[in-house]
Homo-oligomer: 326 residues x 4
Amino acid sequence: MAVPAPVLYPPFNIVRLSHIEFTVTDLGASRAFYADTLGLQITDSDARAIYMRAMEERVHHCVVLKQGDAPCVGYLGFKLYDEPDLEKAQDYFRSRQLPVEWVERPYQGRTLRTRDEHGIPLEFHVTMDRLPPIHQKYALYKGVKPLRIDHFNCFTPDVDASTEFYNAIGFRLTEYTQDEVTGRLWASWLHRKGGVHDIAFTNGFGPRLHHTAFWAANPLHIIDLLDVMSTTGYLGHIERGPGRHGISNAFFLYVRDPDGHRIEIYTSDYQTVDPEHEPIKWDLKDPQRQTLWGAPAPRSWFEEGSVFAGVEPHKATLEATPIVAP
Amino acid sequence: MAVPAPVLYPPFNIVRLSHIEFTVTDLGASRAFYADTLGLQITDSDARAIYMRAMEERVHHCVVLKQGDAPCVGYLGFKLYDEPDLEKAQDYFRSRQLPVEWVERPYQGRTLRTRDEHGIPLEFHVTMDRLPPIHQKYALYKGVKPLRIDHFNCFTPDVDASTEFYNAIGFRLTEYTQDEVTGRLWASWLHRKGGVHDIAFTNGFGPRLHHTAFWAANPLHIIDLLDVMSTTGYLGHIERGPGRHGISNAFFLYVRDPDGHRIEIYTSDYQTVDPEHEPIKWDLKDPQRQTLWGAPAPRSWFEEGSVFAGVEPHKATLEATPIVAP
Amino acid sequence: MAVPAPVLYPPFNIVRLSHIEFTVTDLGASRAFYADTLGLQITDSDARAIYMRAMEERVHHCVVLKQGDAPCVGYLGFKLYDEPDLEKAQDYFRSRQLPVEWVERPYQGRTLRTRDEHGIPLEFHVTMDRLPPIHQKYALYKGVKPLRIDHFNCFTPDVDASTEFYNAIGFRLTEYTQDEVTGRLWASWLHRKGGVHDIAFTNGFGPRLHHTAFWAANPLHIIDLLDVMSTTGYLGHIERGPGRHGISNAFFLYVRDPDGHRIEIYTSDYQTVDPEHEPIKWDLKDPQRQTLWGAPAPRSWFEEGSVFAGVEPHKATLEATPIVAP
Amino acid sequence: MAVPAPVLYPPFNIVRLSHIEFTVTDLGASRAFYADTLGLQITDSDARAIYMRAMEERVHHCVVLKQGDAPCVGYLGFKLYDEPDLEKAQDYFRSRQLPVEWVERPYQGRTLRTRDEHGIPLEFHVTMDRLPPIHQKYALYKGVKPLRIDHFNCFTPDVDASTEFYNAIGFRLTEYTQDEVTGRLWASWLHRKGGVHDIAFTNGFGPRLHHTAFWAANPLHIIDLLDVMSTTGYLGHIERGPGRHGISNAFFLYVRDPDGHRIEIYTSDYQTVDPEHEPIKWDLKDPQRQTLWGAPAPRSWFEEGSVFAGVEPHKATLEATPIVAP
């Protein structure tokens, strides 16, 4: 099975991933984690929701936390380039028999809600309230000093299908893992904004969200976070890392929020703005794919994820076994 | 004078800056500087030219060194998105009465040569030979471990005019310095690829090239370079830094090559992919504009630059005095 | 003039520099500087004094701030090895006709006060209250994350005499600057605890304290401090750096406290525990002596210092001109 | 069982650990590992031996590699303070019925060979050939940029006995692990030179050498080494890490040389020069003892070690099970 060719002139123009809505069961505990420990900046909060941005973001939020009874993910948010892209997106998804609706979201302009073929809820907007820069207000930096949201990674029951779907709307493949036996994709990484990915897919019980990543400036900030988390009661929240990925070449750490939502701290991938940027192929059997160096990923990392609100996950169609820490 | 609004649908699609051609007077000395000291990788060389790329680049070269009698810059190279963009560019520059010609360049596809209104020679191509990735061949990393070419910075006799010119072809303004007295621009930073700039302009005797920048992963690699340069005979080649810029927020170092061409090592600016990303205004009188912290720039930094081959520089139309180290 | 040979069996055993007492004119402003900005931990405070320690210290304090009318330094504190060393020290200084007295100092055991030949007030103790470790309480780390007091540096009117004095009581010379013309010492660095220095001397109007240094783990913490100071009203307090010293090989930054007391943040010198460790000689004319790389030191750095309480400084006997930033 | 009190006036004065002699089975492979990959500097070599020093060392060697048929450790070398200390050491060991002899070692002065109670071969000298400094010859730095030898760590069948033995000759305990059930020591760390340890002991089949550690300036150099080792055929030589130790607070990495000798790269422990520095007690059951954060140590790390030439190891007298990666 060949990987899809890049779509140079997509049906509508997605600029980048934008934000995510998490439902959490204890807003206070989540605030302590995301704001006090990771260092995201709160831009609004009340008894039912907290909005946060990272240090170099000029938009109102990259994370929305909502109080709820059970942890889940409300939707994945993406920013479009211009107002006409909203109509083009509506037409596109309608033409593929996917449900579309216009929803109201605080601090955002017109917002189109739809879902992908497996049910992942997607929301698209062009405008969000813009805030004054804080990237040089260094007194505000704390925790891992998160600079921006970087990417989403989702479990999908069919990576080939998910890759086709997102490729068709302009995401460009940068790296992928192929099962040597069947020739099918086991994982894929696709971008819009010029890094290794805005969204990635991993074979598994899905759709579920595997993780959401934030960009840090360098590995020492990640080491600082490890020092703090390991001595302030968050040791059990450190799931995997630090290490360097083979795929993406990034230095990484995975932690879990109080509800188990997985957060990656990520730094030092590479620029991919050339449209002909050749995707790098990795063999599923190559242990350096996930971990160029560092301890192997634990079983939880392969199996656990966050459900999307109201979306029932299914077993993957590809049965293939990655390398797990024994 | 207001800054120009971003052009959302430019006449042709520039992906990013691509490469630069330097004429140098001693190819061996330049090889020692660029390859052995900075750490660029040689991709081809003979008695008359050396081609080099940085560690995460998949294209054949970001720097071409040509042996010559006097140091100068041959042209600034930019990559376009798709083949039709070449014709659109040709039409665009012709319609503005600028000379256009198709030139042959080794390792590149069709290449359009023109110049901007002040005479800066520009070359546009879509394809360049692509090479296997080396970003995970860590045994090759040396010097400052340069990852990619980041930007050009040029002296221009009229920053307002230069800013208008590049803005009209799709470059988006991210930061600028305004002379409070006249309201005119003293400097501007414009991007295509999603960082603070692909090209910038500084008021002065021009057109001349002020510097070419390479991206490094973090400040410690820049400190490593300083340690090596200061103890291997290159102490006098360190011109300014390290420090942090107010504009761009980047950690920086400026060094001079054996012919005086100025190279910046640059890390940690910020993402600017949103088309409405608001440009940040700085007052010419604000000393933290150039140097958030660090020693003030020396006089040479304000006055010296590389001429473009065959292009006579002129005095700037704006007389304004920046802050110089006494 | 030859440098003195190390005294392998000194008259009493000094373990290390211990602490310093600064008189400051606004205790609140100094608290904001030392505790909130640099990150020292307050161990006791009242309306008239603040006691602080650095992150890996187990003793009660390395800095004492006292409220007063004019900034000065009360004394330099040193820790002796064992109780009998106090008597031996008393005998030693008495035999050199230097005044000795036993003084009461909070949180310390028996304390011997004397002065050196030029009048620098010195206090020696064996015991100080010991506190539980906090080096793994990472939530407390802030500012430059100072780990320990590292050294004192003093102006002296006669570096040869000062070097002889401290060498005689067991300090071992690690590096020195010699005036090529007269053969006299222009500066010297001497240690007890196994680094480049516990105390250093610089030719100048003295005795005065030039600076007090704290050890940070790595250069990125110093860059973090620069980012914070330059954006929280402390830009004018940054005096020199960052850079790397030729002497000591350390990465450094000099800042001034609200009263002008000079603080160095210092990292990465080298181990000197071998008693035969050969001192490194530097020529006064060598610009890489002070600054292996980085901007030259400003004039203030050569001329300004803190007076010792009640001690009148004098002009240096050696007239020699170091390299100053123009 | 109480830990022993520090011996303030030991029978002879040990300055620091000095060097180690490894027997290796392929001198070329070991040279590629120690010199080309780790970055130690070769100071002499022939067909049968290689001598190396680290970047800030002024002595001839910290590692001696000897060609042999089976990997083992020849001896642990320590530097004494002054010539009379050699005789004092001879008297001391003789009085304890331990064998002593004077041996010839290239590049060293008089050298006393003995062994500890469990058979670990120890060699003491005062003088070794001294070499010009290279710590500012930055062009020579490579690999992990090792600055100096830091410590030895040995398996011993009786940590209580080993701790008593080394404590009696002036090593000072800084941290220890105690088995809560029996009250016996499971591990101990002891120093002479002012850091956490010059030598440490771990309960196990011994005596054997567990590892030899080199000091690096900061964690990023260790990350650089991981990048290089994982892409140059040394992936299987990375045994544990990176992580931060609870004990010592150091950032660490363990790698294995071509013969399996274990090398630690170690940075950022703390200063311990105060003679009353209180040892920190850890519970054997505390998982943060070995690993403040990071993956648990693999089984090999607990079980494998290097034999001392001609010394038969024995089972430990304490049976207690540390936490091992499953």
